[in-house]
Each structure stands twice: as C-alpha cells, then as structure tokens.
C-alpha cells in the first residue's frame, strides 16, 4: 500500500508511452498522450496525500479541527488539467492540418510521403 499508487502512476505512464509509439493514427496518439498526462496527476496527488486527512478547504469546517492534505500539489495539478486540455486541442489542430496537407494521418504513411 505504501508504494502502490506510485507504481500505478508509473504503469499508466508506460502504457500511454506504448500506445504513443505503436499508434497508427495521430488522433489515437493524441488520446494516448492524454493518458500519459493523467499519470502525472495521479503521481502528484499521491505524493500530497496524508492518511486520514481531508481537503484544505475551510468553507465547511473549522481550521485545525482535522488534518489536511498538501494543497501545493493540488494547485499544480488543477491548473495543469485545464492547460493540458488546450494543449491537446493544439495537437489536434496540428493533426487536422496534417490531414489537410498530406491526406493521411497514419504516421508510417506520412514517413513514406516525406522520403
């Protein structure tokens, strides 16, 4: 239990990398990149967790009444999720542009076109 969340994060990251490397469709590759991104969220939040803790949000509880988890990693993750989505959009825009210019979105066919 002490390292399980970290190992799961590493597993998700490696799975996403495998998908990226073997993808035959650039839209699918962008989806795999999204999976890689989610691995970083799991890792960061696992680092900040504290047993028996609760969220450091004091709108509905008295400060100091319960132990709280680490807010710094949460702040990092939460901005990253929204920014990650726009970066996904940018990559998808690139894919559409490639489809327009080369007529295919299979990475292998693209390489043959260039060669």
């Amino acid at each position: 239990m002490h390292v399980l969340p970290y190992l799961i994060a590493a597993y998700i990251f490696l799975t996403g990398c495998y998908g990226l490397a073997t993808s035959r469709n650039l839209i699918h590759a962008v989806g795999c990149l999204a999976v890689c991104q989610s691995a970083t969220y799991v890792l960061l939040l696992a680092v900040g967790y504290r047993d028996g803790g609760t969220a450091p949000v004091f709108s509905d509880m008295r400060p100091g009444s319960r132990p709280v988890v680490d807010p710094v990693v949460q702040a990092l993750t939460l901005t990253d999720i929204v920014v990650g989505a726009t970066v996904t959009a940018l990559l998808l825009a690139l894919v559409l542009q490639i489809a327009k210019r080369h007529g295919t979105i299979d990475p292998d066919e693209l390489r043959e076109l260039r060669g």
Binding site: M1, H2, V3, L4, P5, Y6, L7, A10, F13, L14, C17, Y18, A21, T22, A46, V47, G48, Y49, R50, D51, A55, P56, V57, F58, S59, D60, P63, V68, V69, D70, P71, V72, V73, Q74, A75, L76, L78, T79, D80, I81, V82, V83, A85, T86, V87, A89, L90, L92, A93, L94, L96, Q97, K100, R101, H102, G103, L113
Partner: protein, 253 residues
C-alpha cells in the same frame, strides 16, 4: 524497420520502467505525515483569510506560476486559431438545419442556463469552496455548446459573436497583468497580495486580490474554450475543401 522500432521501444520501456520503479521505492510513503510545504501553505492561506487553500496557492502564493500557465493557455489557443483558419482553397458550406428529437431539444434549452449559472457559481465561490476560475470557465463554455448539441450550429453561431470572445480572452490576460503590476505600483512586488484588505474569513469578498485574479482566469478560460471549440466546429461542420486540384497539390507543399 518496424521490428527495429519494437525492439527499441521494448529496451527503452524496460529501462524507463526499472528507473521509475526504483524512484517509486525511494519516494516518501503514500499517506505519510510529513508535508512541510503543505503545512506552510495552509498557514499562509489562513493568515490571509482565504478559506480555499488551493485558490490561495494558485492566485496568491504562486500567482506568478499561474501567469505562466495562463500564457501557455493563451499561446495554445492562438496556435489553434492560426492552424484552423480558413485556407484559400476552402469554402464554407452552410450546414442544413438539424432535426433533433423534441425532448432532447427541450432538455438542452432547459439545462443551458442551469449549467451557465453553475459555471458562474463555481467561479465566484473559488476562494471559499472547491472550484475556481479554471473549472468554472470550462463549465460555462461547455454549457454554451449545448445549443449546438440540442439545436444546430446556426443557433449557436447566433449567440456567439466570436470577435467578442477573442477580445474578452485578451482583456482577461491583460487584467491579470494589470492586477499584478498594481502591486508593483503600490510599492510591493509583482502579483503580491497586498493591494486590498483581506476581509472577513469565509465571505465572498475575502482574500484580497484572490477573487479578482480568480475572476480574470475564469473569463480567460471560458472565452478561450469557446474560441477553441468554435474553430473546431467550423472545421468539422462548415469548412469544406474545394475538390479537384487538391490531390496533386498535396505532394508539392
């Protein structure tokens, strides 16, 4: 070629996996008691009367970091707008009006204001309860697109003057910078939370400049998402290539 790539992938993946596992075993235990940065951040947030510590970290203690995130967002949207603009060999085809089943249409029109309101609620209560500009902005932008899902694209285009959203996007970025500079002019530091009184703990106006920066981010994210989706919708629904000479032209470029 393909085989070589698979071998490379296996070797690299195995190496990376070994390193990651080694690193995981040396990390502090999951659920451990020691969080020095977290404890300090909570203390700082409480001393500035911000109930939601995460909002305090984002818009006060690490507001400079959020400025960086915001510029990535802005640049990504700018990139999409440039990449997805209508090219010279493309034309716009008006999509036919869609027939949507009546209960679905009614549901969309009913939920649209509710979702918009929820988005605004999430933004406004960012410094108190879970939520904030990043989340609420996305919700509000998604809510607007119920009009496309429940009716058709032309209905959405009528309530979505794109220029206004592009301007709002830039204005929100500018507002964030101006709020930051105001700190310098007041004699402290860029984006320092010293401008306004901290207010009463756990009320809407508490936290100094946190609610203002939060609102600026909310505006920026909402209009950025609307602009992004507008360009993707344009490409998917309206813009068509003029067929004919396209296939030969493709290889020259």
């Amino acid at each position: 070629m393909n085989r070589l790539r698979l071998v490379l992938l296996t070797v690299g993946g195995a190496g990376l996996a070994a390193l990651l596992v080694a690193a995981c075993l040396r990390l502090p235990d999951f659920g451990g008691r020691r969080h020095p940065y977290g404890d300090r951040a909570v203390h700082a947030s409480l001393s500035r009367h911000t109930a939601n510590t995460i909002a305090s970290v984002n818009f006060d203690q690490r507001a400079y970091d959020t400025l960086g995130e915001m510029s990535i967002l802005f640049a990504a949207v700018l990139g999409c707008v440039v990449l997805l603009r209508q090219a010279g060999d493309e034309r716009r085809a008006r999509p036919e009006p869609a027939e949507v089943a009546r209960p679905v249409r009614r549901y969309a029109l009913l939920v649209l204001p509710v979702a918009l309101l929820t988005g605004l609620y999430v933004i406004a209560h960012g410094q108190l309860s879970p939520g904030g500009g990043f989340q609420g902005g996305v919700v509000a932008a998604t809510a607007l697109h119920l009009l496309y899902l429940g009716a058709d694209y032309r209905a959405l285009e009528r309530v979505r003057p794109l220029g206004v959203y592009e301007t709002t996007d830039s204005l929100a970025v500018a507002a964030y910078l101006v709020l930051g500079t105001a700190g310098v002019l007041a004699g402290t530091a860029f984006l320092a939370n010293t401008l306004l009184p901290y207010g009463t703990f756990n009320t809407l106006s508490s936290g100094g400049t946190v609610p203002l920066l939060n609102a600026a981010i909310g505006m920026e994210v909402a209009s950025a998402a609307v602009v992004l989706l507008a360009h993707f919708l344009d490409q998917a629904v309206e813009i068509e290539e003029t067929t004919g000479e396209r296939t030969e032209g493709a290889h020259e470029r």
